[in-house]
Symmetry: C2
Subunit: 209 residues, 2 copies
DNA sequence: TAGATTGTTAATCGATTAACAATC
DNA sequence: TAGATTGTTAATCGATTAACAATC
């Protein structure tokens, strides 16, 4: 096992490995070689073995990898078994959609609660999750210290809100507003979902074919 | 101007350039050097000049780039002025959220119509867009040939639906289901939004800090 | 003109692929 | 045992950065 900094390229492939292995697992496939997994995922066998070698030795010569085992190892590397907890800030259409459709448990996250400013929503439940007033945010975070905040708020509120939450100790942001968040606090991570960017990439591709 | 295949890395940075230039433009900034833009975006000036050189010469020695002009050039490269048209398939929570919150026009797209199977939704309007029955899909696409389909349908329906739409002539898919779509038809592009993957990346990062 | 900054060529760095000894 | 397939080292490829002549 090599012990070096794991590159972003590798990190971004991990969820994809996990997804494909889960797929095989659900189909009842027991073992797979880097070669077959590679053709399924359309990457080289070399790359798979190289990627995995960042984290350990999970295969067996002459046999390949046990699907259930490799899946669980990668899940572990991704922190799926850490019991991370998150709060959702903004229960508008998008927050609502996430609460209703997204299987957080599947990624090892537990949704603690949601916050909104709308009096109509405060006190109601969506998919078993209580919507609280933004006024309770400070107290709630202080009492239960969730790990991650999901931001589905208006664009201009995102950065000041993130700064507030970082002060309260939140370490991860799943950011659905179309701004790039930043901080100089160590150990805080942002995952920005830029819908616009992906649509523009698509626009680029269909524009020149 | 070099004329080679533009790498994926470059293509994925284009929307980000566009976003930052729009930002500067809205703030009234008239000119910017690759150096200042680089520090704003946290990339090297070299990379910016190298990236832009794939598409033409947009700057002026000793001056830098005119913000409005460069923004408009990149918008043009991205196909923002092509008048692409799209349809939304699935008007559940997520489709609804996109219709209500997402400014398609901003990316140069026009939302033609949406489709759903729910009798409660069919015939209603969301944000000025009519929801039609899935039964009308074939006829509608044949008559108006939209360019892109947004898929916010259940996972297992995504690939067969995509195949159908490709047959009808759709060239681009903005896919919000958690499966990787594929086809062997030439000139069809998929932009898969994997919510799970990004959340798992975040999980990875907060798990080891 | 002098200073600034481009576009491009060359150098470096890192990521992907190939090769192969080790071994199940 | 023979065949298959790993983990790792070496080779290649491509992307990023540095350098600089051209020139506004």
């Amino acid at each position: 096992m090599k012990k070096q900094k794991v590159s972003d390229a590798v990190i971004h492939r991990l969820p994809r490995y996990y997804r494909h292995l889960s797929d095989l697992y659900n189909k009842g496939v027991v073992r797979i070689s880097s070669n077959s997994l590679g053709s399924k995922m359309d990457i080289t066998a070399s790359q798979i073995r190289q990627d995995l070698s960042c984290f350990g030795e999970f295969g067996q010569q002459g046999y390949g990898y046990n699907v259930a085992e490799l899946r669980s190892e990668i899940g572990h590397i991704l922190g799926i078994d850490k019991g991370h907890r998150l709060i959702i800030i903004g229960a508008g259409h998008l927050g609502h959609a996430l609460l209703q459709n997204f299987d957080f448990g599947h990624s090892g996250f537990q949704v603690d609660t949601a916050f909104d400013i709308s009096p109509d929503l405060i006190g109601t439940e969506i998919h078993g999750v209580t919507i609280r007033s933004m006024d309770e945010l400070e107290d709630y975070v202080a009492a239960y210290h969730p790990d991650v905040a999901v931001l589905t708020v208006p664009q201009h509120e995102a950065q000041p809100l993130a700064d507030r939450l970082i002060d309260m100790g939140i370490r991860g942001f799943w950011n659905f507003t179309n701004v790039e968040l930043s901080t100089n606090v160590e150990g805080v991570f942002f995952e920005d979902i830029h819908f616009v960017d992906t649509l523009l990439t698509l626009s680029y591709r269909i524009s020149r074919s």
